[in-house]
Amino acid sequence: MAWYFYLIIVLAVVLVLFLLFTYNGLIRVRNQMKNAWAQIDVQLKRRHDLIPNLVETAKGYMTHERETFESITKARNLAQKAVGTGVGAQSKAEGELSSVLSKLLMVVENYPDLKANTNFLALQEELSSTENKIGFSRQFYNDSVMGYNNKIQMFPSNVIAGMFGFKTGEFFEIEVAAERAVPKVSF
């Protein structure tokens, strides 16, 4: 046997191992991303379930906010319909819901009776914690997407990704008008 015969075998083994590890690595980060997305879904669903309770409790006290309640219910129903329609469409609907909700929570300060209601306080704690959880799961999801996309676009793993048709992940961005606006300070 000639020496180049062994060289070819060694090169082939190295190539197969490289293929194997890169492919498995890609699958791993993609699964992590999918799992992170499932986490967001859980929290979004929890928010959809909490809103009717909150509206029901607050309605009796906040008699001047009928329009706000209507817009919240509408946004919630739209968001619920958007479940499963893809990251982009869903993040738009959820962003809408977040901004009308924050409007409601801002005017709670004007209703001292409502703030004394323990039931409402518990709901408010749950809702704002769910908002935080959505934020943190979004943060973790976007970090995972970033890691996954880096792998897909960087050499040499991008070659394997192209061969097996890995598609780039989509970021989940909630655009809340109130978050971007300058905070208003009133004395």
Binding site: S128, S129, N132, K133, S137, Q139, E179
Partner: protein
């Protein structure tokens, strides 16, 4: 690793010096080490929670604490929700324990829980969650087992040596001949090592512990995207004057701040499980650019004249991470209970777990009836009504 090496070496030398067989001492050391490891691995968390008298809580006992733990679980990307415990003491501290993320627990003292607002609580819990995620609990308990074994072995070895010398039974003298000189040298080296080994082991242990604290601080900043939360929590912690009675040397490194040190030293201290709080606060507060590991490392270098706290591998490829605002500004009208409400929230949990019965008097007073109260009626101290105590 280094400590394991020292342990093997000391075992070897004990064997050479006392059993005239190198392997006897070595096997002894390894057997002791193995048994202690098993105990620490399987029962370490329940022992720690037990001696701290920690009470396990559910979501309904303290929604705010439970929610914050869940938020940080999500932010850290942990798969399992850790158990949440409250320790009934005015001292201010918190710790994480558990051999793996699946069996992890987070405990916080009532004193700390009452003092912190939501952002600060988030910082503290994120720090503990980072310990779980980085598997520091396992690492530090292995290290402390190693440390303990080295200290015990060195202690026994020195006793045996002293008594051996008093009783005049010098094996080396009796054997005489050519081997004598070599044995004396081994003897001297053994004595030197028995003195140096525990000191070395302590220093390595403390150095590892401090490094893991910095890493947990950096992770907390990354999870919360808000280093100021942890910084201001640490500031409150450093002002506490209560001492945690249940803490000891073995458990010290598990806590968020060293439960044993009373006086805060400015200089870096080689014999402490934790870096000085003032320094940790300074690093967190100088994270101006963002909340990633890279930003923490930059802040650390600025405080420590160019030294780096993390390996280069964990810093490359990181995306820029921006710091968020305080939660009150970001989330509109976040319910932020006042100090009195927070104290009441916490004490309600503790009352419940000390099996006090709650009697609501018609005048609005809440009476707490201790479990050893014998009568079936109780008089309200405010309005004088006689209330019946419900049977549980």
């Amino acid at each position: 690793m280094a400590m394991g090496g020292i342990l093997v070496l000391i075992g070897y030398l004990i064997g050479v010096a006392f059993f005239s067989n190198a392997y006897a001492g070595l096997i002894l050391a390894l057997v002791i080490w193995f048994i202690m490891n098993l105990v620490a691995y399987f029962a370490g968390d329940s022992i720690l929670l037990g001696i701290s008298k920690a009470k396990k809580i559910t979501h309904d006992d303290h929604p705010r604490l439970f929610n914050v733990v869940e938020e940080m679980k999500i932010a850290s990307g942990l798969e399992y929700m850790p158990s949440v415990y409250i320790i009934d003491t005015p001292a201010m501290n918190a710790f994480a324990t558990g051999r793996n993320p699946k069996n992890a627990s987070v405990a916080i003292t009532a004193g700390l829980l009452q003092k912190l607002n939501r952002d600060e609580l988030q910082g503290v819990i994120a720090h503990e969650m980072a310990h779980i995620k980085n598997r520091d609990v396992l690492l530090m308990s292995l290290c402390s087992v190693l440390l303990g074994t080295i200290v015990i072995l060195a202690w026994y070895a020195s006793r045996i040596m002293i008594y051996g010398a008093i009783l005049g039974g010098g094996r080396s003298r009796r054997s005489g001949g050519g081997g004598g000189q070599g044995q004396i040298i081994i003897f001297i080296v053994a004595i030197a090592l028995m003195i140096i080994a525990p000191i070395l082991a302590y220093l390595i242990y403390f150095a590892i512990s401090r490094k893991r604290e910095y890493l947990a601080d950096a992770s907390a900043a990354q999870y919360t995207r808000y280093p100021e939360g942890l910084a201001s929590a640490l500031e409150k912690l450093s002002q506490s004057t209560h001492k945690l009675e249940t803490a000891n040397n073995a458990t010290a490194s598990m806590f968020i701040i060293n439960p044993l040190k009373r006086s805060e030293r400015a200089a870096a201290d080689l014999s402490s499980t934790h870096p000085p709080i003032s320094e940790r606060i300074r690093i967190l507060r100088s994270m101006a650019g963002g909340a990633s590991f890279y930003d923490y490392n930059t802040a650390y270098s600025a405080v420590h004249s160019g030294k780096s706290v993390m390996g280069a591998a964990s810093l490359t490829g990181a995306a820029p991470v921006s710091i968020r605002g305080a939660s009150a500004a970001a989330v509109a009208a976040e319910p932020e209970p006042t100090r009195i409400e927070r104290a009441r929230e916490t004490s309600n949990v503790l009352w419940k777990y000390s099996k006090h019965k709650l009697v609501n008097c018609q005048c609005g007073t809440k009476l707490r009836v201790p479990p050893n109260y014998r009568h079936s009626n109780i008089k309200c101290p405010h309005c004088g009504r006689i209330n019946t105590i419900p049977h549980s």
